[in-house]
C-alpha cells in the first residue's frame, strides 16, 4: 500500500485548515492600524513560525515508530512534571498566573504539553491492565492520581482555567475505561447542577429530578440514586449560597456578569457584552476581513487568544464561524471514529483522550465566546494565538496521525 493511502488526510487537512483560519484571524486581530505599536503586533509573525514548527513536528513525528512513543510515555510524563515543578519556582508571572518558563528565550507553557503527557500516561496505564475496568477502586484511584498530579502543579501556577480541563478529562477517561453509565452520569451531574443553578434555579431543580431518575433507570441501585439526589440538592443549595454569601465580590461580579451582563457593562460585563456584540453584529456574511469594528477598534478583550472566535464571527459572519465549527466537528468525529476502530488499546485511549481535550476546549471556549458559559480563559485549539498551546495541540494530532499510519505494524507487536 502506498504511504499516502494509509495517511489520515481528513485529520491532517482539518488540522491545516483550522491552523490557517487561525492565522487569518490572528492577522486581523493584531495587524490593524489600532494594534500597531502594541505588544500584540508581533503575534502574527510568531504564530506563522509556530505553524511552520507545528508542520515540521507533525511530519517528523510520522517517521518515528509508535512503539517509541509508548515506551517514552512515563519519561515524558515525569519530564513534564519536573518542568511544571520548575515553573512553580522559576516561572514568569503574567497577570497573576505563573505558568511560563523561559527556555532559551522561548516562553514555554508546560501546562499545555502536560496534557499530551497525561493522556499518554493514562493510555499507558489503562492499556497495560489485563482487565480494563473502572469498576474496581484501584483503577479509579490510579487514574485520579495521574491526573491529580499535573492539576496540583497547574493550580500552583495559578492557571485555574487549564486545571479545569484536566479535571474535566477524568469523567471522559473513566467512562471510557468502563465506569458504569450511572456512576459516570453522577460524576458529571454536579457540574450540570452548578451551571444550571447560576443560570436558572428552577431549571437546576428540574435537572436534579431528571438526572436522579436517569441514574435510577440506568443502574437500578437505590443507594446510588439517593446519593445522586442528595448531591443534586446539596449542589443547588450550596452554589446558590456561594453566590450570595461565600464568593468574594469580584468573583460574584464575574458570575453575575455572565448571567446578566447589563448590570455592569463597563466592568465585569464588558467582555460578555463586547464578545456577544462582535459575534452578533457579524450577521450572516460578516463585516469583511479587517473590517470588524469590534476587533479593529479593540473593543474585544484578548481577541487574539481567548476571544479569537469573536474575530472570526464578526468579520466572516455565520458562514466563517460555521466553517470553523464544522471543521472541529469533522476532526472530532474522525478522532472518535479511529478510536472506535483502532486495534491497539493504547491508541484507542490516546485518541479518546485527545478528542476529549479538544472537545472540552472547544466547548468551554466557544461557550464563553457566545456567552453560554462564564468567562474561563482557555484557548480555542489551533486557532488562538500561543506557541505552547498550538504546538501541544499539533503534537496531539501528530500522535493520532502516527498511530493511525502505523496501525498494522503497531498491532502486531502488541496484544
Amino acid at each position: 500500500m502506498k504511504w499516502y493511502t494509509r495517511f489520515d488526510w481528513t485529520l491532517f487537512l482539518s488540522w491545516l485548515l483550522l491552523s490557517l483560519i487561525g492565522l487569518v484571524a490572528i492577522y486581523s486581530a493584531t495587524q490593524g492600524p489600532q494594534h500597531q505599536d502594541t505588544f500584540i503586533a508581533g503575534n502574527f509573525f510568531r504564530q506563522v513560525i509556530h505553524l511552520g514548527a507545528g508542520l515540521v513536528v507533525i511530519i517528523v513525528m510520522q517517521f518515528i515508530s509508535p512503539r517509541t512513543y509508548v515506551q517514552l510515555t512515563w519519561l515524558l510524563y515525569g519530564l513534564c512534571l519536573f518542568i511544571a515543578l520548575l515553573t512553580v519556582f522559576f516561572g514568569i508571572e503574567v497577570g497573576g498566573e505563573k505558568n511560563w518558563l523561559n527556555v532559551f528565550g522561548f516562553r514555554l507553557q508546560i501546562s499545555e504539553f502536560m496534557k499530551i503527557a497525561t493522556i499518554m500516561a493514562l493510555a499507558s496505564y489503562l492499556s497495560n491492565q489485563r482487565n480494563l475496568s473502572a469498576q474496581d477502586f484501584k483503577t479509579v484511584a490510579v487514574i485520579g492520581f495521574i491526573i491529580a498530579l499535573p492539576v496540583a502543579f497547574i493550580t500552583l501556577h495559578g492557571d485555574t482555567g487549564t486545571s479545569l480541563v484536566y479535571i474535566a478529562l477524568i469523567p471522559f477517561i473513566l467512562f471510557w475505561a468502563g465506569m458504569s453509565y450511572g456512576v459516570s452520569l453522577l460524576m458529571v451531574a454536579p457540574a450540570i447542577f452548578a451551571y444550571l443553578t447560576v443560570v436558572n434555579i428552577y431549571a437546576a431543580a428540574a435537572s436534579v429530578v431528571i438526572i436522579t431518575f436517569a441514574i435510577f433507570m440506568l443502574e437500578k441501585r437505590p443507594g446510588l440514586t439517593l446519593v445522586g439526589f442528595v448531591v443534586g440538592v446539596v449542589m443547588v443549595i450550596g452554589v446558590n449560597m456561594a453566590l450570595t454569601d461565600v464568593l468574594q465580590p469580584h468573583q460574584r461580579a464575574r458570575v453575575e456578569a455572565f448571567v446578566n451582563p447589563q448590570v455592569d457593562p463597563q466592568g465585569a460585563g464588558w467582555n460578555v457584552i463586547q464578545a456577544k456584540t462582535a459575534i452578533s453584529s457579524g450577521g450572516l456574511y460578516g463585516k469583511g476581513f479587517m473590517q470588524g469594528t469590534q476587533t479593529q477598534l479593540r473593543f474585544l478583550p484578548e481577541q487574539q487568544t481567548d476571544f479569537i472566535y469573536c474575530v472570526i464571527s464578526e468579520e466572516f459572519g455565520f458562514v466563517g464561524a460555521g466553517v470553523v465549527l464544522l471543521l472541529f466537528l469533522v476532526m472530532l468525529s474522525r478522532l472518535l471514529f479511529i478510536a472506535a476502530t483502532h486495534k491497539h488499546p493504547y491508541a484507542r485511549i490516546l485518541m479518546i483522550g485527545v478528542a476529549s481535550v479538544f472537545l472540552i476546549h472547544v466547548m468551554v471556549n466557544l461557550g464563553m465566546a457566545t456567552a453560554l458559559l462564564p468567562v474561563i480563559g482557555i484557548p480555542l485549539p489551533l486557532i488562538s494565538y500561543g506557541g505552547s498551546s498550538f504546538l501541544s495541540f499539533s503534537i496531539m494530532i501528530g500522535l493520532c496521525l502516527n498511530f493511525y499510519f502505523y496501525e498494522r505494524d503497531f498491532s502486531i507487536y502488541a496484544s
Binding site: S133, Q266, S280, G282, L297, S313, L325, A355, T370
Partner: protein
C-alpha cells in the same frame, strides 16, 4: 458473558455516547450561532456601530463685537477644556485626575456627579479654561483616563482699552432651566447674562456642529468617520458692529473712575450710542473662562453694586436738566411764549415758599434756562397742573423718552419715574397728595427719576429739532452670507414740537454753556456746545450732579448726558466730564489737561448704597 466481551461492548457504547455528546455540543453551538448572528443581528449590529462611532459636538466660535471704526472690542482666544463622558468614565481614576489637574478630589467628584446627572452619554465639560500645563498633563495621560477628553474652545477676550463692562455684559454657564428651554444649550455652555452678550445671544452664539468620529474601546478618537461625510460644521456666531467709539468710551470710563454714576453719549440724529459708562464697574476679563470665584463674590457683594448698569438702570431726580423740556411743554400749551416774562424774587409763593437759588428779576424762558431760574418753572408747573392737569404734562414728558423705556439693546433698562395722577394715588394714596408734590416736578425734583440714557434721549429730541430717536449700541449684525440687519428704526417726529419753540430752548441751552452754569467747563474751543446742568437734591446725602448737552449747536453730532451721584453741583462735576469728551470727540485730544486731571482727582461724597 466473558469479561473481555463485556468490556468491548462497553467501550463501543462509550464511543457512541461520546459521539452523541460531540454531536449535541455542536448542535448547541450551531444553534447559538444562528440565534446570535441571525436572530439577534438587528439588536447587536446598531450596538456595534454605536460602540465605534461617537457623535461629538463642535462648539462654534462666538460672534465678535466691533466698535464703529471696525476695531475689535470683544474677540475669542483659545481656552483649554477638559471634558468627560460619564458612561465611559472610570470612577477609580478620580484621584489621578485630581492630581493631574491640580484640583481637589472632592471638587472633581462633585463635577463628575453633575455631569452624570446631566447625561450619561453626552460629553460634558469637566474643567473649563485650565492652564496649558494641566492640559498637556491630561493629554499625556489620556490613555489612563477612559471617558476623559480634551478640547480647545474659545473664551472671550477684550483687546480694547475700554472696559465696557456693562454694555458688553458677561457670560455664565447655562442653568438647568435654560438648557431645558432651548435645544441650543448643553451643560457647561456659556450664555450671555447681561449687556450685548445677552441681548444678541441668539446671533452671537452661532450654531453647534456635529462631528462623527471613530473611537476605540478606550474612547480615544481615531479620526473622522466615513471621511466626515456626515459631519455638520458649526456655524460661527454672527459678528456685531456697534456704534461705540472706544476712545470716547475710554475717556468717560477714566473720568468716572472712583465715582458713582453714568455717562451716555449718543448721536442725536440716529440714536447710535457712542459711549456708555457706569461706575463702579467690573472686569469682564476676570469673569471669562474659568470663573474667578473670589472675584465673582466680591463683585456681587460690593455695596456699590458694580454689576448694576447706572447708565440705563438708575432712577435719579433729573433736577434742572428737565427745564428745557418744561420750556417746550409750556410754550406748546400756550402758557408762555418766547417773550413771556416772569419775575423772580428769589422764589415762588404758592401755599408755601418754593426757593430759587437767587434773585433773577424779570426773565423770559431763554434767560430762565440760561440762569436756571427755579421760580419760572415753579410758576409754569403750577399753571400746567391747574389749567391742563398733571397727566397732560406726564404724557408730554413721556414724548421726550422720560418715564418710558427707550428699548435700547442693553439689559437692565428701567422706565424711570414721571408721575401721573394714578402714580401719586398709588404712592401716596388717593387725595393724599396735592399741589406741593407737583410744583416740585417743574424743576425735576420730587417723585421724579430718570437715567442718564433717558436724559441723553431727551436732550437729543431738542438737539435734532424734535425727533425721538431709538438709542442703540449695535448698528448692524453682519451675517455669514452677507446679509446685514440694521438694528435701529427711523427716528420718530414728536409732532407737537414747534420749530420756533425748539429754537428758543436751544438758544437758552447754548447760553447756559456760554454765559450760565456750564461756562467754566463745558464751553470748549471752536465747537459750540449747548447744554443744561442739574443739581438734584435727594434725601440720601449730597446732591447729584447732572449735565445734559449736545454739540455742535447748529448741526449736532453728539449728545451727552452725565450723572455723578452725590457729587454736588452739576456744573463743576458732571459738566467737566462732558467737556472733556467733547474735546476728545471734536479735537481728537484733551485741550485742557488740568480739567482732566481735576476730574481724575475729584472725589465725591461717600455714596449711600441704600439708593441706586
Amino acid at each position: 458473558m466473558p469479561i473481555k466481551d463485556r468490556n468491548t461492548q462497553h467501550a463501543r457504547t462509550a464511543v457512541i455516547v461520546l459521539q452523541l455528546l460531540v454531536a449535541s455540543v455542536f448542535v448547541i453551538l450551531f444553534g447559538r450561532l444562528i440565534y446570535l448572528q441571525v436572530f439577534q443581528y438587528d439588536i447587536y449590529s446598531p450596538i456595534s456601530e454605536r460602540n465605534s462611532i461617537r457623535q461629538q459636538t463642535v462648539n462654534p466660535a462666538r460672534g465678535l463685537i466691533f466698535d464703529r471704526h471696525g476695531d475689535l472690542i470683544v474677540g475669542n482666544e483659545p481656552s483649554f477644556t477638559i471634558t468627560i463622558t460619564p458612561l465611559s468614565f472610570d470612577m477609580s481614576t478620580i484621584p489621578l485626575l485630581a492630581e493631574l489637574t491640580l484640583t481637589e478630589q472632592e471638587n472633581i467628584e462633585a463635577l463628575v456627579l453633575q455631569a452624570r446627572t446631566y447625561s450619561l452619554h453626552r460629553e460634558s465639560r469637566l474643567l473649563r479654561d485650565v492652564d496649558f500645563k494641566v492640559f498637556s498633563n491630561i493629554q499625556e495621560n489620556l490613555w489612563r483616563l477612559p471617558g476623559i477628553n480634551h478640547q480647545v474652545e474659545g473664551k472671550r477676550s477684550y483687546p480694547s482699552d475700554a472696559r465696557l463692562s456693562h454694555a458688553l455684559g458677561y457670560l455664565a454657564e447655562v442653568t438647568r432651566n435654560e438648557m431645558n428651554a432651548s435645544p441650543h444649550y448643553r451643560l457647561g455652555d456659556l450664555i450671555g447674562r447681561s449687556g450685548l452678550e445677552r441681548i444678541y445671544e441668539d446671533d452671537l452664539r452661532g450654531s453647534k456642529g456635529t462631528q462623527f468620529v471613530t473611537v476605540n474601546a478606550f474612547g480615544r478618537s481615531l479620526g473622522p468617520f466615513s471621511g466626515g461625510a456626515l459631519d455638520v460644521n458649526p456655524g460661527k456666531g454672527v459678528d456685531i458692529h456697534t456704534t461705540l467709539d472706544i476712545g470716547l468710551q475710554r475717556i468717560a470710563e477714566e473720568l468716572l473712575e472712583g465715582k458713582v454714576g453714568g455717562v451716555v453719549a449718543l448721536n442725536p440724529k440716529t440714536g447710535g450710542i457712542l459711549a456708555i459708562a457706569s461706575t463702579p464697574d467690573y472686569d469682564n476679563e476676570r469673569l471669562a473662562g474659568q470663573l474667578d470665584r473670589d472675584y465673582w463674590v466680591s463683585v456681587n457683594t460690593d455695596s456699590l453694586t458694580p454689576l448694576f448698569n447706572r447708565a440705563v438702570a438708575t432712577t435719579q431726580p433729573p433736577g434742572s436738566t428737565t427745564k428745557p423740556m418744561m420750556g417746550l411743554i409750556g410754550m406748546r400749551l400756550g402758557i408762555i411764549d418766547e417773550n413771556t416774562t416772569v419775575h423772580c424774587a428769589g422764589g415762588y409763593q404758592r401755599g408755601r415758599f418754593y426757593r430759587c437759588l437767587r434773585h433773577h428779576g424779570t426773565i423770559n424762558i431763554v434767560e430762565a434756562i440760561e440762569t436756571s431760574c427755579n421760580t419760572f418753572f415753579y410758576w409754569m408747573m403750577d399753571q400746567i397742573v391747574n389749567r391742563f392737569g398733571l397727566n397732560v404734562w406726564t404724557q408730554m414728558m413721556n414724548d421726550f423718552g422720560m418715564g418710558v423705556r427707550t428699548d435700547i439693546d442693553l439689559s437692565g433698562e428701567v422706565r424711570g419715574v414721571i408721575p401721573d395722577s394714578s402714580y401719586f394715588d398709588r404712592a401716596f394714596g388717593v387725595r393724599q397728595w396735592g399741589l406741593g408734590d407737583m410744583i416740585n416736578l417743574g424743576i425735576g425734583q420730587g417723585a421724579m427719576g430718570a437715567s442718564p440714557l433717558q436724559m441723553a434721549t431727551a436732550v437729543s429730541v431738542i438737539a435734532n429739532n424734535g425727533y425721538r430717536v431709538q438709542p442703540s449700541v449695535v448698528e448692524r449684525v453682519a451675517y455669514e452670507d452677507g446679509a446685514v440687519e440694521i438694528i435701529r428704526p427711523d427716528p420718530e417726529r414728536v409732532d407737537w414740537l414747534q420749530p420756533g419753540d425748539l429754537e428758543a430752548i436751544q438758544r437758552g441751552m447754548r447760553l447756559a454753556v456760554t454765559e450760565g452754569s456750564g461756562r467754566f467747563y463745558a464751553n470748549i474751543r471752536d465747537v459750540a456746545v449747548a447744554g443744561k446742568t442739574g443739581t438734584a437734591q435727594n434725601p440720601h446725602g449730597q446732591n447729584h450732579g447732572w449735565f445734559i448737552s449736545y454739540a455742535p449747536y447748529d448741526d449736532p453730532e453728539i449728545a451727552i448726558a452725565v450723572l455723578l451721584q452725590n457729587a454736588g453741583y452739576g456744573s463743576t462735576t458732571a459738566a467737566p466730564i462732558a467737556g472733556m469728551m467733547y474735546e476728545y470727540y471734536f479735537h481728537g485730544e484733551i485741550l485742557r489737561p488740568h480739567v482732566y486731571q481735576m476730574m481724575l482727582d475729584f472725589e465725591p461724597a461717600p455714596f449711600n448704597p441704600n439708593r441706586n
